[in-house]
Each structure stands twice: as structure tokens, then as C-alpha cells.
């Protein structure tokens, strides 16, 4: 309707054409740097993935792997099993799990305006742990007909049920950030206590199994479970991507995001459900893997900034890379054994993460 743009109406307090080139040039370079970052991450991820396939407790080296890949039918059955049923599912689990956890962390950090939010701190991991422990100790499932997947199904049900409970209470109370964070913390401690109680009641064998489950391990990954993860990703990631701008607007605060036309409460709750689904699926398959949901988004933020259209893809790739590297480390630290990956992500990731944060001059958050 208006004939004039603000610039035309304002007249010439403006800078000259040289500055003009600078600003748009700077933004162009920023986008180019972002694309380069993605490409480098993809290359690193491909190399990491290949290395991940080469390592394992069994002595299956590069020639054998190449032989299996070259002509699976002619390869020894044992080699085929090691590659296709053990190493490949575990490496794919690292890839998909890293993407899911890091994107879930980025989404939670955006909607809760809190750099500490991730599936772990929201109580989802311990909820899953409690569900798994229930199945291990009593062999009971909240879902019928799950058969051998009773532990996975229970873990998922409790993790997602917790997210759903947080969602419902938050919806009743107006979806404020504090309400959601406090509920997450409350569930976190409640499930730690319940898990402790179950461990206290469990016999030695079940106790060992619970403890091992809580370490988090990609060794549990099977193709059917991975297909489920992929399905959830296929539904959630595009959906989240479409809301990237709304998530960016949330970083300006609730009121300003609303002024930009973002229905803040609805977006917060929908995204909470979506990222919880991603996280719960991974936790159900692999057990709790600490730290990827926290470190992935933070490293991505250092690389590409806070604009969610760029942050979400970058966080996904960083998360995948972190988990693939952790998988490699879990096999390389003590050749012949696989250390649970949940321990590796924390013990090796934490010092690296702290170094990155302390050395970075830019302010990460606030």
C-alpha cells in the first residue's frame, strides 16, 4: 500500500555505496562460511564413519571389509555378520543418534531459552532408564505384544510419557519456561530415586543389567530399531526445520517473538513434543548417552551462530560427528573391548568441550 520504503522516506543519513557492499558482502561471506562448515563437517563425518567400520573387537581389517563390501556373497559368513550385523548398525546408530540428540538439544535450548537444556537435564534419560529397569527387574511392559523389545519399548514409553506429562502440565500453566524447566528437574530427580529403588530391590543379575543399560551403548542397535529411529527422524526433522525462523524469533524473548507474529506458547509446546520424541527414540534404542545433546548445539553455535536455519543442520552434523568419534574411541581405547559409549562421550567429550568454551572469545549465551 505504501509508496515509499523507509529508506526513501528517511532520506540520506545513510552511508555510501561502499558500506553497502560491505554489509551484504559480509553476510554473503557468512553464508559461504556456513556452507563450507557444513561441507567440512560432512567430509569429517564420512571419514569418521569409515574409520568406525574398520574398528571393532574382532580382527576384521580394511582388506576383509573391502572384500565383504565388494562381493558379500563370496565373503566368509562370519565377516558378513561382523560387518552387516554388528559394525554397520552400531556406526549407523552413532550417526542417527548423534543427529537426533543434538537437534533435540538445540530445540530444547531454543524453546527453553536455557543453554543447559538437553534430553538428559529434562529428565528424559532417567525416565527411559527407569522404564528399562522395570522391564529388566520384573519383565513387565507398559505395552503388550512387544516381545523381545520389552526393554526398548518401556524405555521409550517412559521417556516420551515424561515429555508428554511436562507438555500437559505446562499447557495448563501457560507454557512458561520456568514451569517446563522445573518440571524437567523434578522428573529428573524423581526418576533417579525410583531407579535407585529398583536397583535396591533387584537381584545381582538384574542389577548388573540395569547398570549396563544406564551406561548407554550402541551395541544394542539392530536394523529394525534403527528403522524406527529413521522413521521418527523423517517425521520430526522436516517439521522442526519449518519452524526454524520461529525458534530464532524466540531467542529475542517471548514478548518480542510474539510481536513478530510467533504464537509462542504453541510453538514451545509443539517443539517440546517433537524434540522429546527424537530424544526418547534414541534413548530407548541405545540407552542414555549424556552430553551429545548439550555439546552438539554448543559447538555448532560457535561455528555458525544462533540463526536456527543454520544452527539446526550444523548441530545435527556436529552431534553425529561427536557420537561417531566417541564410538571410535570406545573401540580404540582398549583394543578388543568396547567401552560403553555413554561413558566415552562424557569422559572424553567434557574436557574438549570445556577447552572450546574457555578458549572461545565470543559470548556463547547472554
Amino acid at each position: 500500500m505504501r509508496a515509499e520504503s523507509p529508506a526513501a522516506a528517511g532520506g540520506g543519513d545513510a552511508a555510501g555505496p561502499e558500506t553497502r557492499l560491505d554489509t551484504l558482502g559480509w553476510y554473503g561471506r557468512r553464508l559461504a562460511r556456513y556452507r563450507l562448515t557444513l561441507v567440512l563437517l560432512l567430509v569429517a563425518l564420512a571419514l569418521g564413519f569409515a574409520l568406525d567400520l574398520l574398528l571393532g573387537p574382532s580382527t576384521l581389517g580394511l582388506p576383509e571389509i573391502l572384500a565383504v563390501l565388494g562381493d558379500p556373497a563370496a565373503a566368509p559368513p562370519l565377516h558378513r555378520v561382523v560387518l552387516f550385523d554388528l559394525r554397520l548398525p552400531s556406526a549407523v546408530a552413532a550417526l542417527l543418534g548423534g543427529i537426533c540428540l543434538a537437534v533435540a538439544g538445540a530445540g530444547m535450548q531454543a524453546i527453553l531459552n536455557n543453554p543447559l537444556a538437553d534430553p538428559y537435564t529434562m529428565g528424559l534419560s532417567y525416565a527411559a532408564g527407569f522404564g528399562a529397569a522395570l522391564a529388566i527387574v520384573f519383565g513387565v511392559s507398559a505395552l503388550p505384544f512387544v516381545g523381545v523389545y520389552v526393554v526398548t519399548a518401556n524405555a521409550f514409553l517412559f521417556a516420551f510419557g515424561t515429555a508428554l506429562a511436562i507438555y500437559l502440565v505446562a499447557r495448563l500453566k501457560g507454557a512458561g519456561v520456568q514451569v517446563i524447566v522445573l518440571l524437567g528437574i523434578a522428573f529428573f530427580f524423581a526418576f533417579i530415586a525410583l531407579l535407585g529403588l529398583l536397583q535396591y530391590l533387584a537381584d545381582a543379575e538384574a542389577l548388573q543389567e540395569i547398570v549396563f543399560w544406564m551406561f548407554g551403548s550402541l551395541g544394542r542397535a539392530r536394523w529394525d530399531k534403527l528403522a524406527m529411529v529413521a522413521l521418527v527422524m523423517a517425521a520430526c526433522l522436516p517439521w522442526l526445520w519449518l519452524r526454524a525462523d520461529q525458534l530464532t524469533a524466540l531467542r529475542l524473548g517471548d514478548l518480542q517473538a510474539k510481536a513478530l507474529g510467533v504464537p509462542v506458547e504453541r510453538v514451545r509446546l509443539e517443539v517440546l513434543l517433537c524434540v522429546s520424541l527424537l530424544a526418547a527414540t534414541v534413548v530407548a534404542v541405545a540407552g542414555p548417552i549424556a552430553f551429545v545433546g548439550l555439546v552438539g548445539p554448543h559447538i555448532a553455535r560457535l561455528l555458525v551462530g544462533e540463526e536456527q536455519r543454520r544452527l539446526l543442520p550444523a548441530a545435527a552434523l556436529v552431534g553425529a560427528l561427536v557420537l561417531v568419534l566417541a564410538d571410535i574411541a570406545s573401540k580404540a581405547i582398549q583394543p578388543g573391548t568396547v567401552i560403553p559409549i555413554g561413558l566415552v562421550t562424557t569422559l572424553i567429550g567434557l574436557p574438549i568441550f570445556l577447552t572450546l568454551i574457555l578458549r572461545s572469545r565470543s559470548e556463547l549465551w547472554r
Partner: protein, 287 residues
């Protein structure tokens, strides 16, 4: 679009935070197109609450119209394409760069850019207009309060809405930027026929740049009208408890200077809901 009867109007706006009422049926209010309307009043008068209520960002009672059209019927995204609210604390908590924040506002604003290039160019033009192109690459949380306010104003202008609701947008600006930005807002408002409402604590700046004003006290409208009708020694004494020196006819523009605090009349400090607090000087309110 900006006919004589056009502009932003509101009636019986009421708002409470929990059980604490902050607006007591404010209205009828009117902010004409092409004019700057100053929103004045002491701390806690309800200025910010009135602005968010007008913007439709809080569940307030009452009606808000733009050129006669009830804005309450519009969904949030449609409504915010027609009016933009800029909060006092813009951008303090985010590492988004100035350019990204302004581009984001452009992308979901009233203007429809044909392509990405037009979007980027519009963003750049507004930064240049405000003289902050050099800040484009800086994260908002690394800026000074005044620089952030300039970025906020850029976000407000880039959306090309018909109404601007600005909450103390110049409070942290230095003297030269205050004059520059208010002159710019006045120019843009007049040229584009915007209805601009701007809350200000500095009555001198209000007298100099606003065409009209609303005076608020304790959640009630105590007067509205042309700027010289509202910035009046008697009303300032009654509402702010300050003796003010006001000169309208100066060639350099009007001068308003607070001289000394005075005892505030009881009527404004604790107004009775059914009476206009300033007696015969009040034009609005719930009387």
C-alpha cells in the same frame, strides 16, 4: 488508507497481571495516521502494559481498531503484520547478529519481497538509514544498550507495518542519537502515514517531536489531545509531582524543563475509580 478518521483507536482496555489490575478501562484512545503520539506517565502508570495490550500480545479486555477494523478478529500473525511492538529490553539475551535479527523481522513482516536479494537489500537499507550498518555483524548481546535500541528500531521499521508501538525506544540513546532517531521516526511516520505511539519519559523530547499525547497515571488515561494540551504545567504537577518550566513559542522548538519536585495532590496518587483523577483538567479516563 490514511483518511481523516483513520488510525489506531481503542476503547475500555483493561488488563490485570494475576489479581493485580494494571489498566482500568483505558479509552477511548486515538492515534492518528501520519502523527507521532507520545505516551506519557510516571513509572508504573501502565505505559508498557497499554502498548502490549494495543499490540494484542496479552489477553486484555476492550477493543482495538485500525481504520475502524477490529484488530481483535485477526490472528496473531496477521495482526503483527499490521502493527509492531518494540519492547524496552530488546535483544539483551541473544547472540543473534544485528543483521540476522532485522532480516528475520523483514522475512515475516508486511512487505512481500520478490526474492532473497530484495529482502537483504531492504534489511541493509534500514540499517543504513539508522546509521548502524557498521554494527550489522555484531551479536546483539555484545552491544551497548543504546546500540541495541537502534537495532530494535531497525527491526520495527523494516517490517513496514502501519502502526508502531515503541516502548521507550530512546531511553538509552545518547543526546545526538535521541534527536536523530526521533526526527527520523517523525519523518517516516509522516511520509508513510503510520500511526506511531511512543512511550517517553523525557517530556522535552515529547514536546519537541510528538504531535499528540496520551497521559497515563495509575492505569488510567488522565488526558489525551494535542501535545501542548497534554504537556501542561498543571497536569505535570498533578501527575508527576514536578514543577515544570514550559515554553512553546521558541524558534528552536519547545522547551520543557523540570524545576523542582512538589507535593503531589492526593487525587492522582490514589484516584477513585469513578472519578477522573485530575478533576476538571481530565478529558479521558473512566468518568
Amino acid at each position: 488508507m490514511s483518511g481523516a478518521g483513520g488510525g489506531l483507536s481503542a476503547e475500555r482496555l483493561a488488563l490485570a497481571y494475576g489479581r493485580v489490575p494494571v489498566l482500568h478501562g483505558v479509552g477511548p484512545l486515538r492515534a492518528a495516521r501520519g502523527r507521532m503520539t507520545a505516551l506519557l506517565g510516571p513509572n508504573g502508570a501502565g505505559k508498557s502494559s497499554l502498548l502490549v495490550a494495543l499490540a494484542g500480545l496479552v489477553p486484555a479486555e476492550g477493543t482495538v481498531r485500525l481504520d475502524g477494523e477490529d484488530l481483535g478478529r485477526l490472528a496473531l500473525p496477521q495482526r503483527t503484520r499490521r502493527l509492531y511492538y518494540l519492547s524496552q529490553a530488546f535483544g539483551a539475551g541473544t547472540g543473534l547478529t544485528v543483521f540476522e535479527a532485522v532480516l528475520l523481522a523483514r522475512r515475516h513482516g508486511a512487505a512481500r519481497d520478490h526474492d532473497r536479494g530484495a529482502e537483504l537489500e531492504a534489511t541493509r537499507a534500514v540499517l543504513a538509514l539508522l546509521g548502524i550498518e557498521a554494527l550489522a555483524s555484531r551479536p546483539l548481546n555484545a552491544l551497548s544498550g543504546g546500540q541495541r535500541q537502534l537495532a530494535g528500531i531497525a527491526q520495527a521499521l523494516v517490517r513496514e507495518t502501519e502502526v508502531l508501538l515503541l516502548d521507550e525506544p530512546t531511553s538509552a540513546l545518547d543526546l545526538s542519537n535521541q534527536l536523530r532517531v526521533l526526527a527520523l521516526l517523525r519523518r517516516v511516520t509522516a511520509a508513510q502515514g503510520l500511526a506511531t505511539v511512543i512511550s517517553l519519559h523525557d517530556l522535552h523530547l515529547a514536546a519537541r517531536f510528538a504531535d499528540a499525547a496520551w497521559m497515563l497515571a495509575e492505569g488510567r488515561l488522565v488526558r489525551q489531545g494535542a501535545i501542548h494540551e497534554v504537556i501542561d504545567p498543571g497536569l505535570i504537577r498533578a501527575v508527576f509531582g514536578v514543577e515544570a518550566l514550559i515554553e512553546w513559542g521558541r524558534p528552536e522548538g519547545p522547551l520543557v524543563q523540570a524545576i523542582s519536585p512538589v507535593e503531589r495532590p492526593q487525587a492522582v496518587a490514589a484516584p477513585h475509580p469513578s472519578h477522573p483523577p485530575t478533576g476538571d483538567t481530565a478529558e479521558g479516563g473512566r468518568a
